[in-house]
């Protein structure tokens, strides 16, 4: 035991009795973190979480942990309750986990994203478990009239060794709930765990394989109607008029009307997208009837005008311009290439890169690009709403319920106490479900219909009314002197509508002369967070460039990275370098060893390496491929991760495997093309997703063994897989791949 923890803030824990005896312990996960800690780095500031949850101990000794964190496949419903169970000293196999609802005042704030759940939950969740245990021990001490120091807790029981007495938590819970909350609790030392670090299976696995109702799409209520919305056919268009005469005659149709999603006076936050703010809504009895009637609605669209509005992101207000016009991918590419020729905004400069380039014997300059990406969650966007005079019930797949609540109150004219949001398991998230416009849409429809409704996006709606990963371009340039030393690095790039450059990340800090510049291009295409925002592109470019640079100066790609990191550690250039060189080297060394990188036949292998650090964890991959009929077959991927202590090795491995498959799929095939504002792919028969036969044959995952406090895995393994694949493709084909998706250039060769 160590790390005495103060329950300093009253708001952290709330203990209460439950009817029939028992104990309920509520906790606010982040209330005891000082704000500076939570906002320690810029990446976290945008994506941090604050969550509250509940532990319930019933008289029959049933321990229930309510996990308030929305689950979208990252397996937090298993891993987060494990943190509580460890300190609570209960038998994990007997713990019942349930999803909490967004239900004020029980759960005060909820936000999920940025791979922060485990990192942010680490201290407060264990503290909640330890506090509950201590109160149960105190209750036992009072009951037996014994000093608490003579008691111990294990498997949901309190024991007194010398008298061989035992009592179950359930029998103590009622008494414990009336005790004062202890000021201080002790937590176990990292490494002294019995549940944490052991592989545990998904707590909802059984419901999933039986097809039980878990998702919003599955939610039903008596009298519920189905609603679908018609949005403009292109970005840059808005609704002019519609004629529903024929559609209204179709069987099962209840009503067809226009909704305006956000009010004009609504101050947008960073997660409020209103690209298509006026929609035509079709409401009917069944999905098929609504789908059919929707085709009969005649709509007319007109061009949007340029708009300027203030967007309030985490308290900082910025004017955002949405230009008019119908945008196309080909024109975007030209615009981006044009801006690459002009000076950008200087983001960071170390030393004198101009002189270094002027004196260079040779330079290596490469430009990389990537398209817009739709999230394509398997469960398309949906939301249930039932608004009556008394209550507004939502069943929603949403990552940011608390922020949505403000939005709901304003745009649906509802008071806070009426709103009840039930958080359904999400059929994938990847960032898409942080943008909850569909909740307002559903609410408006229910209000108008005075009935429970479920808004369903078809796959086409989902793909063409998306919140896409931006399109990016970046140029890396290296100055090389007569001794084959790299004397300067120049990075310039941008995106539509934002740049992906992280100027303080590696290789910043490893070069005396370094410059990073950025630019952006305004667009009316909606963009937003997509698994490891920004990193998911820049890692690919950076890691491909370092590979080519190492080759140019005759060095092994892993050794060269390690050499640079050692330099950045012993003699860092500049300030604010945003990585721990030792942990970076750690994953590179581990992947080198586990992939047998140094063996004699390595030279002939068609393999590529890449490493990256983002969202507080380190990842490196070695990808081995062969070519079959001109297409890559991924034979093996070796992955090395450093996310500190691994809370649930089973879930962690699954997450890394998923990121590897997702990365390979997006690198090879991903990309949404636009022509005159129209997304050219609308469904899975046009948009290529990675499938069984393209999945790697083997993924071999290794974690750096250390006792560092844990960090997340939802995003970190994703960005470096793109670069590792590009570098392997080079070995297999002799061609470098600069433009995603790689399949385009692959099929040209």
């Amino acid at each position: 035991m160590d790390k005495s923890q103060n329950n300093s803030r009253r708001s952290f824990l709330k203990v209460s009795s439950i009817t029939g005896g028992g104990m309920m312990i509520g906790f606010s996960w982040l209330a005891n973190l000082i704000p500076n800690e939570a906002f320690a780095n810029a990446e976290t500031a945008k994506e941090w979480i604050e969550l509250t949850g509940f532990i319930k101990i019933s008289p029959d000794n049933q321990i229930t942990i309510f996990c308030p964190n929305p689950e979208f496949g990252q397996n937090v419903m298993t891993s987060l309750p494990m943190l509580i169970a460890e300190e609570l000293e209960v038998d994990w196999s007997k713990v019942k986990v349930e999803a909490g609802d967004y239900d004020t005042p029980r759960f005060k704030r909820q936000f999920t994203g940025g791979s922060q759940s485990i990192r942010m939950g680490w201290q407060p969740l264990r503290k909640a478990g330890a506090t509950a245990k201590l109160m149960l021990m105190q209750a036992a001490a009072n009951e037996w009239n014994l000093p608490i120091a003579e008691l111990s807790a294990a498997n949901g029981m309190i024991h007194h060794k010398s008298s061989n007495k035992s009592i179950a938590y359930g029998s103590l819970a009622a008494a414990a709930s009336k005790l004062p909350t202890p000021e201080k609790v002790s937590l176990k030392k990292n490494g002294d765990f019995s549940i944490l670090g052991t592989p545990q299976k998904n707590v909802e696995g059984s419901k999933i394989v039986k097809g039980e109702s878990l998702f919003t799409m599955d939610y039903k209520q008596e009298g519920m109607l189905i609603a679908m919305a018609i949005h403009p056919t292109a970005f840059g268009l808005k609704l002019k008029s519609f004629d529903a005469t024929e559609a209204l005659k179709m069987p099962g149709i209840k009503d067809i009307f226009e909704i305006k999603v956000y009010k004009d006076s609504f101050e947008r936050g960073g997660f409020d997208t209103r690209t298509f703010n006026n929609l035509v809504v079709v409401v009917g009895n069944t999905t098929w009837e609504v789908m059919n009637a929707r085709k009969r609605v005649i709509t007319q669209w007109e061009p949007i005008q340029e708009t300027k509005e203030m967007v309030n992101t985490w308290g900082s207000k910025k004017e955002e311009t949405t230009p008019a016009g119908l945008e196309s991918t080909d024109a975007h590419m030209k615009q981006m290439y044009d801006l690459q020729k002009k000076p950008g905004k200087i983001l960071r400069k170390d030393g004198n890169p101009e002189t270094a380039f002027a004196n260079a014997k040779k330079t290596l300059e490469r430009t990389y690009s990537a398209p817009f990406l739709p999230h394509n969650t398997m469960e398309p966007i949906s939301c249930f709403a039932h608004i009556t005079d008394e209550k507004a019930l939502f069943v929603a797949p949403i990552q940011i319920p608390d922020m949505m609540k403000q939005n709901i109150m304003f745009n649906l004219d509802l008071s806070a106490e009426k709103i009840d949001i039930k958080l359904a398991r999400m059929g994938g998230g990847f960032g898409r479900r942080a943008y909850g416009h569909y909740i307002i849409e559903a609410g408006l429809i229910s209000k108008k219909m005075k009935a429970p409704i479920k808004l369903i996006y078809t796959r086409e709606d989902d793909m063409t009314n998306g919140v896409y990963r931006p399109s990016y371009m970046v140029t890396y340039k290296a100055a090389i002197d007569t001794n084959n030393n790299v004397t300067a690095i120049h990075i310039k790039g941008g995106g539509i509508p934002e740049s992906a450059i992280h100027q303080n990340r590696f290789p910043a800090g490893a070069f005396e002369n370094y410059i990073a510049e950025g630019w952006d291009i305004k667009s009316n295409i909606t963009i937003g967070a997509f698994r490891a925002p920004g990193s998911n592109f820049i890692a690919s470019a950076e890691q491909s460039f370092l590979d080519e640079l190492a080759e140019t100066i005759g060095k092994d790609p892993i050794d060269y990275r390690i050499e640079l990191l050692k330099k950045a550690k012993s003699n860092p250039v500049g300030k604010n370098n945003d990585y721990d060189a030792d942990r970076y080297i750690g994953v590179l060394e581990l992947v080198k060893q586990k992939s047998n990188w140094s063996t004699a036949n390595n030279k002939n292998a068609k393999r590529g390496v890449a490493a990256y650090f983002c969202h507080n964890s380190y990842a490196a991959h070695v990808v081995d491929i062969t070519m079959k009929n001109g297409q890559p077959v991924v034979e093996n991927v070796v992955s090395a991760l450093d996310c500190g202590l691994v809370v649930n090795p089973e879930g962690a491995k699954n997450m890394v495997e998923g990121a590897v498959v997702d990365g390979i799929g997006n690198a090879l095939y991903g990309g949404l093309r636009f022509e005159n504002g129209v997304p050219m792919q609308k469904n899975f028969n046009q948009y290529r997703m990675i499938r069984h036969k393209e999945s790697p044959k083997k993924i071999d995952i290794h974690f750096v063994q250390n006792n560092v406090d844990p960090t997340g895995l939802g995003e970190p393994p994703f960005p470096p897989i793109f670069g590792a694949l590009a570098n392997a493709l080079y070995k297999a084909t002799g061609k470098r791949f600069y433009n995603q998706p790689f399949i385009n250039d692959l099929n040209k060769s």
């Binding site: 496949g73 998904n202 999933i208 039986k210 097809g211 969650t377 994938g428 997703m689 069984h692 993924i699």
Partner: protein
């Protein structure tokens, strides 16, 4: 609208609806069997996979009028309590991430094992290629199928 009789998971149902309605929506909207999922509606993702007379197919592409006397099996009818060898293997291997596509994957896998009790990797890749998993659990699905094949062949 027309009245039709359906046999789903061994039970008889009478429905009165547009005969062009895909079986997917009959199951979900009319019979409240929501284990069969909507993913694309164009037969390209496999989330809606069911069995028709024991063979897997995509229910979003099957108009209810084409069913006739053929028997429909959905995930709800695969086993009483999720104890089908494939479902058990799925839990053993801890396949799911978000879980949305998994019922479709399971229905396809059951059908595969019927025609090929000992599938090779290539058999699995070919047969399962119509089922997308956006979370990328393909390797675990393969492992679970092999595990189920092994346990069934004992």
């Amino acid at each position: 609208m027309s009245k039709m009789n359906l046999k789903v998971n061994g039970k008889k149902y009478e429905v009165d609806l547009d005969p062009s309605t895909p079986v997917l929506w009959v199951l979900r909207d009319h019979l409240n069997l929501i284990g069969t999922k909507y993913g694309c509606g164009v037969g390209s993702c496999g989330a809606c996979t069911i069995h028709l007379n024991g063979r897997s197919l995509k229910s979003c592409q099957l108009p209810v009028s084409a069913v006739g006397v053929q028997e429909i099996t959905t995930i709800e009818g695969l086993s009483e309590n999720g104890e089908h060898p494939i479902q058990k293997a799925w839990l053993d291997v801890d396949v799911a991430q978000c879980g949305y596509c998994q019922t479709g994957q399971i229905m396809a896998a059951v059908s595969l094992l019927k025609s090929k009790p000992n599938p090779t990797d290539e058999d699995i890749d070919t047969f399962m290629t119509g089922n997308i998993c956006r979370c990328g659990t393909y390797l675990r699905i393969k492992e679970a199928i092999k595990k189920a094949a092994k346990s069934s062949n004992k």
